[in-house]
C-alpha cells in the first residue's frame, strides 16, 4: 500500500498544475476568492505599471524622499537572512541577521554599489511602509481592492523590500495571504504547496544571530536560552541534499516577477526567493499581508499533515524480513 503521505502529494499533483496560473488582468474580488478557496497562486503581469512607485522609485527619488532618515537594515555575510547555516560545531542553526539602524542614503549607496563587505537588506516585514518608509507610502495603493473585498479586511501589513542581488530568502512559509508586487529588478520565486510539508525536511533547530565581532567579521552567536524552532531545511535548488523520503515527490513551481508584476502567494505555501537587480542597481518590492482564515479545514488539515509526518518520523522502522541469502544491511533500513 502506498503510504498516505505519498498518496497525498501525488493526488495533489494529479489534480493541480505544476505551474503558476497567469491572469490576463487583475482579478475581480470573486475571481481572487476562487484562488484563495483553492489555495493556489497566480501572477498578473504588469499589474502595477500604473502605480506611482513603478514610475518614480529610482535611486535619486528615494534619496530625496527618505534622506538621512534612519532605517533598520539586516546584515549578513552572504545574503542569508533568516536562513539555515551549518554552524562550526557541525549542526544546523537557524540564524537571524545582524541588524543596524543607519541613514537611508548610506544604506542605498552600499546597496547600489553591491560592494559592501557584508550584504545589506531592508526587509523588516513589520508594516514598514506605514512606519519607517511612510514617506514612500503615498506612491503605492493603501490596499489591494480585490483582496480587501474578497477577504473582508484591510491589509494587516504593507512591507517594503529593498536590497541587492546577493540576498536570498530561504524556504519558509507564512500564515498570511500575500500579495507581492515587484517594483524594481526581478525576483525568482520557488513555490511549494502546504501538502509538500513532508518534502521540506522540517527540523527543530537551535536559533542564533549574526553579531559583529571586533574585527568587523559577522559571527553566529547562538541563543542558548531560546526554544528550538521548526525550520524547513530542504533547498529546492539543491534537491539531493538534506532530503526526506518524500522530497523527490515535490514539484516546486517557479515564477519570475519582473517590474510591475503581481503575485498572489497563498497562505502556508513554502517559498524561496532570490533576486536580480534592475537598471537602478537595486531590487525593490512591496507586499501586502492579509490575515489568513484559520476557520474551515485549511489550518486544521495542514497541521494534520505535519502531525502525521512527525508521528511517522518517531515510529521505529524495522528492516524488512529477508528470507533468502540476502543480508539485512544498513541500506535496507529506510
Amino acid at each position: 500500500m502506498t503510504s498516505p503521505l505519498t498518496n497525498l502529494i501525488n493526488t495533489y499533483h494529479e489534480l493541480n498544475a505544476s505551474e503558476v496560473d497567469e491572469l490576463e488582468e487583475e482579478p475581480s474580488a470573486l475571481e481572487f476568492l476562487q484562488f484563495v478557496a483553492k489555495n493556489r497562486p497566480f501572477v498578473v503581469r504588469h499589474a502595477a505599471n500604473s502605480w506611482t512607485a513603478s514610475e518614480k522609485w529610482v535611486a535619486d527619488y528615494l534619496r530625496q524622499k527618505m534622506g538621512s532618515d534612519k532605517v533598520k537594515v539586516a546584515i549578513t555575510p552572504l545574503g542569508n537572512a533568516d536562513a539555515v547555516v551549518q554552524h562550526s560545531h557541525g549542526s544546523l542553526v537557524f540564524v537571524e541577521p545582524h541588524e543596524i539602524f543607519e541613514p537611508f542614503t548610506d544604506f542605498l549607496d552600499d546597496t547600489q554599489a553591491s560592494s559592501s563587505r557584508h550584504v545589506k537588506y531592508a526587509q523588516t516585514q513589520n508594516d514598514n511602509l506605514r512606519n519607517e518608509y511612510a514617506n514612500l507610502l503615498p506612491d503605492v495603493p493603501t490596499d489591494i481592492p480585490f483582496a480587501r473585498l474578497a477577504l473582508g479586511q484591510s491589509a494587516d501589513a504593507i512591507n517594503l523590500w529593498l536590497g541587492d542581488d546577493r540576498s536570498v530568502t530561504s524556504l519558509h512559509k507564512d500564515n498570511y495571504e500575500n500579495i507581492y508586487v515587484q517594483i524594481r529588478g526581478q525576483k525568482d520565486f520557488v513555490l511549494m504547496p502546504p501538502v509538500e510539508m513532508p518534502c521540506v525536511n522540517e527540523q527543530l533547530l537551535q536559533t542564533g544571530r549574526y553579531v559583529s565581532a571586533d574585527d568587523g567579521e559577522l559571527i553566529v552567536r547562538l541563543d542558548e536560552e531560546a526554544e528550538r524552532i521548526p525550520v524547513a531545511t530542504w533547498d529546492p535548488d539543491e534537491p539531493e541534499q538534506r532530503t526526506t523520503p518524500y522530497s523527490h515527490l515535490a514539484k516546486p513551481l517557479r515564477v519570475t516577477l519582473r517590474e510591475g508584476d503581481l503575485l498572489y502567494l497563498p497562505s502556508m505555501w513554502y517559498h524561496k526567493v532570490s533576486q536580480r537587480i534592475g537598471d537602478e542597481g537595486f531590487v525593490c518590492a512591496v507586499n501586502y499581508w492579509y490575515d489568513m482564515d484559520f476557520a474551515g479545514n485549511h489550518w486544521a488539515q495542514t497541521t494534520f499533515i505535519r502531525d502525521v509526518y512527525q508521528a511517522e518520523q518517531m515510529k521505529p522502522v524495522y528492516p524488512k524480513l529477508e528470507t533468502g541469502d540476502e543480508k539485512v544491511t544498513a541500506t535496507n533500513v529506510v
Copy 2:
C-alpha cells in the same frame, strides 16, 4: 502524544463553531464563496418564500400539474432507502430501495395517507426536476444566482424530494456543493464535517436491494457480484452503537429546515436527514447540486484523512506491556 487524527478533529472544533451559521438574507456571490472556501454550512430562513413553489405546491396543484404521469418511486419497509441494514445472516449490508414506476397521483395519495404498507419516497436525485417533474420546474428558479456566480457554473442537477415522515436518509456524503430548499414540511439535518471521517465508522459493505416477494413483503436480495462499497455505519442519533475510537470526538451540527428555508450543505460533509410532514400531509424539498472543485487542497486532503484512518486500522495493535500483576486481557487490546 495525542494521535494525529484526534488532534485534527479537536483542532477543527477549536477553530469552528458547533452550530450552523444563520444568515439574515441570501448571501452575495462573494459571501457565498467565503463559505465555500471554508467548507462551512449556513442556513437562510425564508429565502424561498417568494418562490412560486412555496405558494403553489399544495397537493391539488401537484395533482393537476403531474396528473397520472409515471414517476419513479423508492419503496422500503421502514423508510430506509440507501441505508445500512443488518442482514438476517448477521452482517451489515448497504441496501438500495425497491423501485417502481407509478402514476404520480397514486404515489401522492399513498404519501398523504402515510398508511401504505411500505414507505414511498420520490428521491431519484438524477436531475428529476428537469426530467420526470419538468411540469413543476417553472415554479422554482432554474439556478441559484449567488451559487452560479460564485462557482462559475450552472447547477449540475436539480432534484425534487417528495415523501412522508417515515423516510430517513442515512448518514452519507456527496461530492457536490449543495443548495437545499425546503418547500413543504420540515427536515432535520445532522451535519458532520469531512474531518470527522474517522468518527463515522466507514466500512466496506456488501450491497443489496429490496425486492418484492410473492406475498408483497420486501426482502433484501444481495448483489453477489458487486464490489463492496464504503459506507458510514455510525449513526449520530445512536452514538454509542457501532463506534470507532474517534466517534466520541464528533460534534454533529443540527439544523431544522422549515418551509422556505435554504441550507448550504458543503461538499464532502456527512449528513443524515429525517423529516416531518406539513399541513398538506407530505414533505417536499428541492436541491441544486453544483460540481465541487477537485483542485486545490480540498479533495486531496480529505482523501488523506481516510488514508491515514485506514492505515491505522490495518496496523497490528499490541497490548501494552504490563509489568505488575495485572494481566493482559482482551479489553486491553483496543
